[in-house]
């Protein structure tokens, strides 16, 4: 019996703290201008419609998951609305509710990109991924990291540079790249004891991207790296890779 009040206080503290931790936020309110807005039970095209909001009704947008918005109606009913249906709602001032969609316009102009590649780095098999931040539809800063696995050596490579896209509004859009990076090489054991090395590189390259559908595009690229070795002459390494990427 002595323990009960402390448990109650604990519950009270939790109850009071909960909105501060995860709930106390303002949600965007949008208004329905079509005859009705359909609410699905889950975030997917197959989930059934279980409720509707009539014209002039409003919903609070709680969260977004891919192409679905989780909303709460004025009556407190929570459901999922498809992206396409949300396009037909308006904000409180009557302006249309707009948001970032995965389409051709998004392919032309977006903020972030991520992708993965398979290819070759100086003859070794390369696995690589990259991320980019676009300043505008043509210029982006990119970071890529990769691992190459070869017969004579393994290693990792990291690059940082700028990419300039020509004709970003075309489905096929070429680009050029320029940047710097590091390569860490671990030669495989042979007769002499090999030494691991980390060297700076500079690269120039180019490639092509091809818009597939939704948020996806293919990307093929070629880079030529100059590795600034501690030897008498620098080393040149060719890298080519093919992969898919998406923007968001």
């Amino acid at each position: 019996m002595q323990r009960l009040p402390s448990a109650r206080y604990l519950l009270l503290v939790l109850f009071l703290a909960t909105p501060g931790l995860c709930g106390a936020r303002e949600y965007l309110q949008v208004f329905v201008v079509t005859p009705y807005l359909e609410l699905h039970t889950g975030p997917g095209r197959g989930y059934p419609v279980f409720n509707v909001v009539e014209r002039d009704g409003s919903v609070d947008v709680l969260v977004r998951y891919t192409e679905w918005f989780k909303v709460r109606t004025e009556r407190g009913v929570v459901g999922w609305v498809a992206e396409g249906d949300m396009l037909h709602t308006v904000l409180a001032d009557g302006s249309p509710f707009t948001f970032n969609r995965g389409d051709r316009a998004g392919f032309t102009s977006h903020r972030f990109e991520m992708g993965m590649f398979a290819g070759s780095y100086g003859g070794a098999t390369l696995i690589s991924s990259y991320g980019s931040f676009s300043f505008n539809s043509q210029l982006a800063a990119e970071v890529s990291v990769g691992q190459f696995l070869g017969n004579v050596s393994n290693g990792v490579v990291a690059d940082f540079g700028l990419t300039h896209v020509f004709l970003p509004d075309w489905r096929w859009s070429p680009f050029v790249m320029l940047g710097t990076g590091v390569v860490h090489t671990e030669p495989k054991a042979t007769l002499v004891q090999p030494v691991n090395r980390t060297e700076q590189t500079a690269y120039v390259g180019g490639g092509m991207r091809y818009y597939l559908t939704r948020r996806f595009f293919l990307r093929a690229e070629y880079k030529t790296h100059v590795v600034f070795t501690k030897l008498n002459s620098n080393e040149v390494v060719d890298e080519w890779k093919l992969g898919f990427a998406f923007f968001f």
Partner: protein, 232 residues
Amino acid sequence: METGIRVLLLSAALALGGCASIHHLFHRHDDADAQASNDADAADSDAHPPRVIDPDVERRKIKVPQIHSQNVEFGIQYGALSVENFGTNPVYGFTAAYHITEDFFFQGAFGRSQAGRTSFETLSNINLLTPSERYFTYYDLSLGYNFLPGEIFLGRKTAMTSAFYVLAGIGSTDFAGDSKFTVNFGGGYRVLPTDWMAVHVGVEDHVFQSDLLGVDKLTNNLEVVIGASVFF
């Protein structure tokens, strides 16, 4: 008692009277101001017509709340990994995924296990690998596809969304003192008890070329895991 009530009423009456007189004082002051401004307006109206609406209203800035996106998923997993020829052992790992559309997701995974002994090692009592070389460490980058989305029902009131998924990707496996290019593919089942948390069961094969036992061949390393993940 009665005296107390009387005192209370009296002080209330005095307070109200005081407020009224103070208000009157200010009001008179306002009247004087209004009179002065009326005179000024009359003088102005000869020069300019009176302004009915003041057009210099500053536009109100409306702050539109941001919509939180929950497309990133972080998870942990634990299970069993069968390293070809080296027995089945526990494996643990981490995953990070980005859900691109309702159908596709991009996932990076990292896992580690420790291989056992081959039957040759057991019979001959010769160790092929050092203890550190027995660590089987992998990472992979995969593209996943959700299919057969649905709901599971617990009783009358609880419904959880669920989906099967398949995935395939490439990565690297560090085993027996060497890193090998690895292709992974598999599938699983995901149930979401809440919108921000998921429970997974998955099976995956990690395939790479190995000449460890004298013959260069493709090795299949099957993994069965159970995992939990959180959406951000």
